[in-house]
């Protein structure tokens, strides 16, 4: 009897951290929806040359403004219709995903490097360094992003690289703010003291003790900043001072379709809805990651 009872106790297994994480991930609806949509859009961007039915730059003036398939006169040859220059709308939409994702990720990397550096040194060293960094953040926050980005892009000319750099140099504020407060919380925790006591260099403490522990927050901010950069690029392109024609940026497609939106609303709603879906999926994933990685009992 006794032996049997012990045997039963042995069979109770506690879930490993990995299993808990997996279980939380799968049961988080927002994260799963966001992840699926994002993966779809990402695959679409990756396979653009394979899956797009036409060349996104090929103009055919004899086939201008064909309606999408849900209209009575739509054809399967152009499922989403054609624009005012007779370019296949679906192909432009697919290639547009490449531009949005590329700009979003690149601008996030640049702003991340700046923001993480400023935030971590401000949070870790405190005192004067913190005061200086806080001052820089305040200064940056008081400059209107859209206005400054527009002015700079207009002055030095819009190209993919210029936009990535301008956005990257402008939107590091959230990285800096979040990294600063996360690092501040870690500064006086025992394992950082322990690392100091055994004589680790500051660089080593920052890289091997601080960084891994602020990684969760970092990933959340990074996803939100990708969304932010994509939205700003779309706004700049919409205003004619971002990605230049004939590149198929979604913001630019909305801008080019504006003239025709009264008679063919689909010409702006298609890129607009896809753009909103992309931002939505990234935001859902960001929020999901925050919930999933949050300590037990907090969400």
């Amino acid at each position: 009897m006794v032996e049997k009872a012990i045997g039963e106790i042995k069979e109770i297994e506690f879930p490993s951290p990995g299993q808990i994480l997996r279980q939380r991930t799968v049961s988080h609806k927002g994260f799963m929806i966001g992840a699926i949509v994002l993966i779809l859009i990402f695959t679409m961007a990756l396979l653009a040359p394979v899956i797009s039915p036409h060349d996104p730059y090929h103009q055919d003036l004899s086939k201008r403004m064909i309606n999408p398939i849900w209209h009575a006169d739509g054809t399967w040859k152009h499922p989403l219709g054609t624009d005012n220059l007779g370019r296949d709308y679906l192909s432009r939409l697919i290639y547009g995903a490449r531009i949005s994702l590329f700009i979003g990720v690149s601008a996030m990397v640049i702003s991340g490097i700046i923001g993480i550096f400023l935030g971590v040194i401000a949070g870790y060293f405190g005192g004067r360094v913190d005061m200086f960094v806080s001052f820089v953040i305040t200064t940056r926050l008081s400059m209107p992003v859209v206005l400054v980005a527009l002015a700079v892009v207009a002055l030095i000319g819009g190209s993919l690289n210029v936009i990535i750099w301008v956005l990257g140099l402008l939107i590091w504020d959230r990285f800096a703010v979040v990294m600063r407060s996360s690092t501040q919380q870690l500064r006086s925790i025992d394992y950082v003291y322990a690392a100091k006591a055994i004589g680790c260099s500051t660089t080593r403490i920052l890289l091997t003790e601080v960084m891994p522990n602020i990684l969760n927050n970092l990933i959340v901010v990074a996803t939100l900043e990708i969304a932010h950069a994509i939205l700003l690029e779309a706004a700049l392109s919409f205003l004619g001072m971002g990605v230049q024609p004939p590149l198929p940026s979604w913001g630019l497609m909305i801008s080019e379709g504006r003239e025709f939106m009264l008679f063919s609303p689909w010409i702006i709603t298609i890129p607009g809805v896809v753009l909103s879906l992309l931002i939505l999926s990234i935001n859902l994933m960001g929020d999901g990651i925050r919930d999933i990685t949050a300590p037990e009992g907090r969400s």
């Binding site: 008081s142 209107p144 206005l147 002055l155 939106m261 609303p265 939505l280």
Partner: protein, 305 residues
């Protein structure tokens, strides 16, 4: 409180000086502003005349000092496009942008605060879910796309409201919604989390135990405390709105500062762009300064930190 005010004020002034310097430098990125001012077909002699006229032949620091000294007195130079003082043109348009920003803020508050409160009273019910959906969509939809959708639905299909210009109050409805909706997610989330936190606190339980009415507890005790951080967020959001109104004003052809900024950027009207960027930044600096003070006034704990 006095020491805190002094500290905040000196920070605000330092930020203002830095921003003005940055703005000034930024617009010289284009290379030679004299060429831009003189126009495309100008001869080298004409460019020289322009260069001297605008003082562009002097050292950049002296140029900045001169510009800043005049700007402090409200003199931002002459716009080459309008051939009039910059401050006169901006002055005439500022009222429109302020009206738009004010309407947008009112719309955002009227939508976000009740939704946030309702969501907090009944967490995890359908009300909470509707509020969450509104805020998630608000964050995902670009403001220019939302503006265009409003134009198509209410201006073209239903023909309820005018879609372009700023002559009557009805012209401000759609742009105010488009601009204000963008600010709702942040306000709603903060109201909701603030209310949730306050409703779980001891003094609310005490108030309920005393037998106070539900409404009194909710509005007099809970909301008043939960709303403090929201007030300072509103100041910040208003600052953002003035910057973001550029897109909305452009879509609805509203003759405000934002539209003026967009047009001035398109025609490289440098003195105008400089003045507008500085104006919007200064507005933000002043707003955050006052919201910091307000916060410290309402919550004594902040003053000490």
């Amino acid at each position: 409180m006095f020491y805190y005010t002094l500290k905040r004020l000196s920070l605000a002034i330092l930020v203002a000086i830095t921003v003005s310097l940055l703005t000034f430098m930024l617009l010289r990125l284009s290379g030679d502003p004299a060429i831009a001012l003189a126009g495309e077909n100008a001869t080298p002699e004409e460019i020289e005349v322009v260069r001297h006229q605008y003082g562009l032949d002097r050292h950049i620091i002296i140029q900045y000092a001169n510009w800043a000294r005049k700007a402090l007195r409200g003199d931002f130079g002459v716009s080459p496009y309008f051939n009039q003082p910059v401050e006169n043109i901006i002055g005439g348009r500022l009222g429109i942008t302020m009206t738009l920003g004010g309407c947008a803020l009112v719309f955002a508050i009227c939508l976000a605060v009740p939704m946030g409160v309702l969501a907090a009273i009944r967490p995890n019910t359908w009300i909470d879910r509707v509020a969450l959906t509104i805020s998630v969509i608000g964050q995902a939809m670009p403001s220019f796309f939302f503006g265009l959708i409003l134009i198509i639905v209410f201006g073209v299909i239903l023909r309820w409201l005018p879609i372009s210009g700023s002559s009557t109050w009805r012209h401000f409805i759609l742009p105010a919604i488009a601009l204000g909706y963008y600010a709702t997610p942040a306000i709603m989330r903060l109201t909701r989390s603030g209310m949730l936190e306050v409703l779980a606190s001891d003094y609310i339980r005490t108030a309920r135990a005393k037998g106070l009415k539900h409404g009194v507890v909710l509005f007099k005790h809970a909301l008043r405390n939960a709303i403090i951080p929201v007030v300072s967020l509103l100041a910040v959001q208003f600052g953002f709105m003035l910057g973001g109104s550029l897109v909305i004003e452009t879509i609805f052809a509203i003759n405000g500062v934002g539209f003026l900024g967009y047009e001035s950027i398109s025609r490289t009207d440098l003195p105008m762009v400089q003045a507008i960027v500085l104006l919007v930044s200064m507005f933000y600096v002043v707003l955050t300064f006052f919201s910091d003070l307000l916060n410290a006034f309402l919550d004594p704990r902040i003053r000490v930190a």
